[in-house]
Symmetry: D3
């Protein structure tokens, strides 16, 4: 049975999609559009594969303490196949580099992992 | 033939070793010593291998803009076998996440890669 | 017809006014009061005009990633007469300097511009 | 009479407790657990007493602009006996060091002090 | 008569040019090259003129506390015609937003303004 | 016997004094001068004594990772009578809050404590 209620991760995804459309489709700033393209390109397979780069993006987001960025990269990391144990190991690096000021974002990140797992579980139930 | 002159990376390594000895051997703060142990442990093989974690440490250091941390993690990354092309790909993620304010640290990082290669070349000449 | 419902920008304005009164009227810390005065003075006409300084304040707020500060400076910038295209050009500088970690704040900022425009539209309808 | 409704500080305390249990009790990452222990130990009496260290933690949290960390350290500081005037004096140092970008967090901190006082008042009424 | 000795600003310019050539000419990372192009483009005339954008870049660099970025943007700002009084007014905004932690960078910035003026004076003497 | 050679701390003190004179005596920006006054006032005895506030300033400087600010506050803290053990305990709080990215600044801070002690020893020898 699918989850009927919207959680904070679903709300973030919807807001992110709406505002990206506002910026990129309704807006016409060439520099901003190019930046978004460059950002997307940075996580494509290259000398490093995209999966590894998403993990780099997650750790960068955690030490810079941006919850929205953390949510986005956790979704990407889990879609790329990183396991929960591997994500926690990466989060530990972020925690040690960034210190206890990262702890609130660690709480957020762990909750986001749980929300993605619940979403995946709901999808399996529907399958 | 070995390089006779000391470059900035050799000077950093020597200063780092001297001050770590000052803090950990002469000093006796239990909390600080435990933190250093925890820091070392964070990069050991776990769910993720140590090689991957060093790359995470490098990207975290770049977006937080710490040249000493960048130097240390580049030395570790190259010892772990990451190639120059892979390091540049990781640096690109750091650059896109952290923005142009990272560029001075990218210059520093690329120079450090060159210094490590020169050091390795000198070691090969001695071999 | 005016908007009957309170949006997040109205809520921010009300909270900001309430807490500033709590700090400056009920509170009696001389240093804190002097800091608030100094902050206000920094955006008055000087060698640079106040309009330019508000744009500087906006970009500083974006690269330091403070949504409340962004909201305040967007309100001031639009009251000073900066156009939406000019604000986007300033936001682009902030995005390039600060990197993709600024993107969630860019989304917020663009939404705030839209909220101020809606507020202005409502005021026109009432005029 | 006790406050029947849950305020944002109560909600934070509950979320913090729930997620810490999720990370430390359900989770099994040794490095993360060690970090939490190290964090707790840093505020115990040592060469400096725990009361002084909590004030250091508050100022560090304010200049790094983390509202959750601010809430936690204000609760600890007030439990340790720091007066409101002393907390404001510490907040002033944080404001001057960190600049106007700290102001939204000063608003939050002052509100948290008020929430803790209200909570203490409610406890007295129940006593 | 021109200054015969190299000062720190000349040394920075030379290092910056050398390492940018190393990264962009010898290097071949497409993402990094695109980022440098995007960075350059962000300061070109648009809805805002390039002169205004350089001032935005200076303030962003000061609150993010990057001396190399400060040096670069001061050189650009002075070439664009901003006066010393105007630059100080912009620096004051950065100081108030960023706090006393910006003061060491304010010292650096004021010294850089003096170095550019001395350089310009030397050029005039040669004219 | 006094130390004949200038160390990095003496050089910092001299540069700081020279540039502060440049900014405050030669310069005439009223906002900048007021900020410097406000900064000085923040560390005077108030609800908290000046000695405690200097320790707050040190921890704030360490988590924000500013070596010049660290040097200044260590000099002030030691003049106020904080012992080396107490300073290390404060540094430990900064290290845990700010993470391993603070370690290079911890090395710097410990070296500065040693330089101040050497300076005090030299003064004693002259007494």
């Amino acid at each position: 049975m699918s989850e009927p209620t919207t959680n904070r991760l679903d709300a973030f995804d919807a807001y992110r999609a709406k505002m990206n459309a506002r910026i990129l489709d309704e807006g016409d700033h060439r520099g901003i559009k190019r930046f978004f393209n460059l950002d997307t390109a940075a996580y494509r397979d290259g000398a490093l594969d995209g999966k590894t780069k998403e993990l780099l993006g997650l750790v960068a987001s955690m030490v810079l303490r941006c919850n929205d960025c953390i949510d986005y990269h956790i979704e990407q990391c889990m879609a790329e196949g990183w396991t929960e144990a591997e994500l926690e190991d990466a989060m530990n690096v972020a925690l040690v580099v960034g210190g206890s000021i990262v702890i609130p974002h660690l709480r957020h990140a762990v909750e986001t992992v749980d929300l993605v797992k619940r979403r995946e579980g709901a999808a399996d139930d529907l399958g």
